[in-house]
Assembly symmetry: C2
Homo-oligomer: 472 residues x 2
Amino acid sequence: MNDSYLNFVNSPFGGRLARSLGLPKPEVLRRYRADQPEFGGLVAIGAGREPQLLDALANLVASIGVITSVAHESAGLWVPLANRHGLMTGRFEPADSSSQGRLAALLFDASGIEDSTQLEPLHDFFHDTLRSLGKCGRIIVLGRPPESCATPRQWTAQRALEGLVRSLGKEARRGITANLVYVEQGAESRAEATLRFFLSPRSAYVSGQVVRIAAAGAGHEPMPGIDWQEPLAGRRAVVTGAARGIGASIASVLAAEGAHVIGIDIPAAREALDATMRQLNGTALAFDIAAPEAPAQIAAALDEQGVDIVVHNAGITRDKTIAKMTDAAWQSVIDINLCAQERIDDALLAAGILRDGGRIIGVSSISGIAGNLGQTNYATSKAGVIGRVQSMAPHLRARGITINAVAPGFIETQMTAKIPLAIREAGRRMNSMSQGGQPVDVAQTIAWLAHPGSAGVSGQVVRVCGQSLIGA
Amino acid sequence: MNDSYLNFVNSPFGGRLARSLGLPKPEVLRRYRADQPEFGGLVAIGAGREPQLLDALANLVASIGVITSVAHESAGLWVPLANRHGLMTGRFEPADSSSQGRLAALLFDASGIEDSTQLEPLHDFFHDTLRSLGKCGRIIVLGRPPESCATPRQWTAQRALEGLVRSLGKEARRGITANLVYVEQGAESRAEATLRFFLSPRSAYVSGQVVRIAAAGAGHEPMPGIDWQEPLAGRRAVVTGAARGIGASIASVLAAEGAHVIGIDIPAAREALDATMRQLNGTALAFDIAAPEAPAQIAAALDEQGVDIVVHNAGITRDKTIAKMTDAAWQSVIDINLCAQERIDDALLAAGILRDGGRIIGVSSISGIAGNLGQTNYATSKAGVIGRVQSMAPHLRARGITINAVAPGFIETQMTAKIPLAIREAGRRMNSMSQGGQPVDVAQTIAWLAHPGSAGVSGQVVRVCGQSLIGA
């Protein structure tokens, strides 16, 4: 659970030694703390031709409150707009040595780019500003979803942004994240929760990701006012596998956001589960989600008050190459990691226990995306979780329920602590952060997807992997 | 251009040394040679419940001719079916030491799997057979495209196959490839060219890929009879950047399949271009595709006879981190690698020079998928190529024109020979083949996409990367 190399190279002596030997020096990532301001510092704004999302950005900056902005020359429209929103703003001065590291975030509005010949402002902006971005800074590029563009030329240019953002994530280092947010036409007012997440230290280990914000369907209610301090107040959240590790962290973050958490874990983990739930004023339910009666048990336990958020975190591994893998090892992993999620969701949905506007979040894995040696069973189950999310999203749309998955990369847990050193070090370092993530990084990503403001995010898989190289 | 480690460890002395030191021993990949039989050996057939593609598989095996098959116990239906097709067949005997390495391919029909509780036969089949698969063997799993499944449960189960196939590719080693082919309902008769490619040594460096075969639209002609020996006879193919390297290899493979090749390259490469085209009885056109007049020039040169196949291979790199990248370096890479493709296609399409039933193939890159340090310009252009393919495919469907991209990983060329040793070795070894690919691997993949039998493959990106780890 401890990355001793990270600690060592960030000590005064270790840092000097690492420098003189030319060793990598992973940054200590800035993470969210309730006792520290979440946002702050200076944001630089850039834009391509005819940017359409500057208003949404101005609303965001005004809502967050403490950020002041500077306009890059590519975003001349920003200054009068920001002034109309009553924001402090200035002009970005080309990098000189004194400007290094003074920016907290780089935001680029690429929504108006309609052709690959119009991509140049992206170069101008990041060329001028990247060196001025400080440690653990944030890069967010905003565009329009390629598949809903009017012309192939526009689709092509919008799709090209992904290559840029992923490259920036790999170049920037120093704990900086780079993400791409595609905002559908008409979804401008639904982007704030997502932009806040990617700006915040809550997304410390989420980089190189592409997220789409969809507009509300016809007849949908406008988004209700959101309490940004306690967004989950009054909501009930089920978390499976909640006794320890990532599950306990998910429960704890959801509770901190105001949710009442119902934690589920196997009877053998009852003591830890009870302790975790006591701390969070939650409810402990000790039973095996793989048992045939589990869906009915959960439904019965939730029936009266229903539930708003379901997090399918429980999962197991039984690693072996396939020639040595027993049928029981295959079947138990598929059943617990995949079939149980399907059975539980279907029971809760059929009985209406998961309320309209609800949130389902599955835990997938980079193994489910890329496959893994010795994990045919696990990777199959986790790829199935991706299929589950993609297939259910359109079905649940009419009820305002979203379904998404997170796909953790290398996360420091008791499980990864048991991996042999050389393999562990490879997994830890082969990402843009040169370090493993923490359970709280997964938990915060889930909390964003569970947020009432994330109504436009559904059917998506978000990796929590520090932009791990491993992916295909 | 030479992997001296691969050669060394496959020499008698080097092999012994590598074994005693525990070093990896990449397999010498079997590649297609005109003077050797393309197919041969024993194929094991497995199936899930109610398999729907066994008939297509029997047709394939009969058409290829020289393959004999054995049925795994999961595919009891195979024996009578194969007998009806006049095929030699038997039953697969559970692995004993004598069976090791005697199979040439493992084919599994998963098309009837409708629920994640039905995945067990996949374990049974690969558990029993994987050790019997020989060097450079082939694994192909057939399924139904998740997004066209009738229920979320079926979509989920079909999507889960991807995790299995990618894991098998990583486990199998020994030059074995593993790929997943989703055959849409009604597209059964359009799968043969794709299955042949993935069975053949032509796909030596293509692994971990997912390909979809779409059914013909209403009113489409049935697929014409195909000359499997010279499938491109009578067709005309434009290849940009054809003077040397990957481009020359593409030209040569297309010519070997019967096409008349029109090779384009810049005037500075005229001599090499002329030499290459002379050898292939092709036509050399020396001009700069980035010039504004290029589309009209190409159109004029092709006008009378038109063209059937367009391969956008020409591309450049101008690597620098973005803070050091000049505007000219950004712009020239975007323009040559992306905008020029768009201009040329649009000119050929508007004038009807690219004939109905034509093929467009763009060359993308794993940098375009995953991004790369120092390649913001290149990765943006290559991600744009993916967007181009995805956006144009539906537009071109009515004319029977397909558009696809290949995304090479580490390919041994003059360009990669200049990469510093340590980085080159990392790129070479970080894939399931533990080696770089050859230009001919890219060329053969393009020839498959250019094939008249590939009418059902469009809008797709196929990596030629030996299942490189790098991908996100």
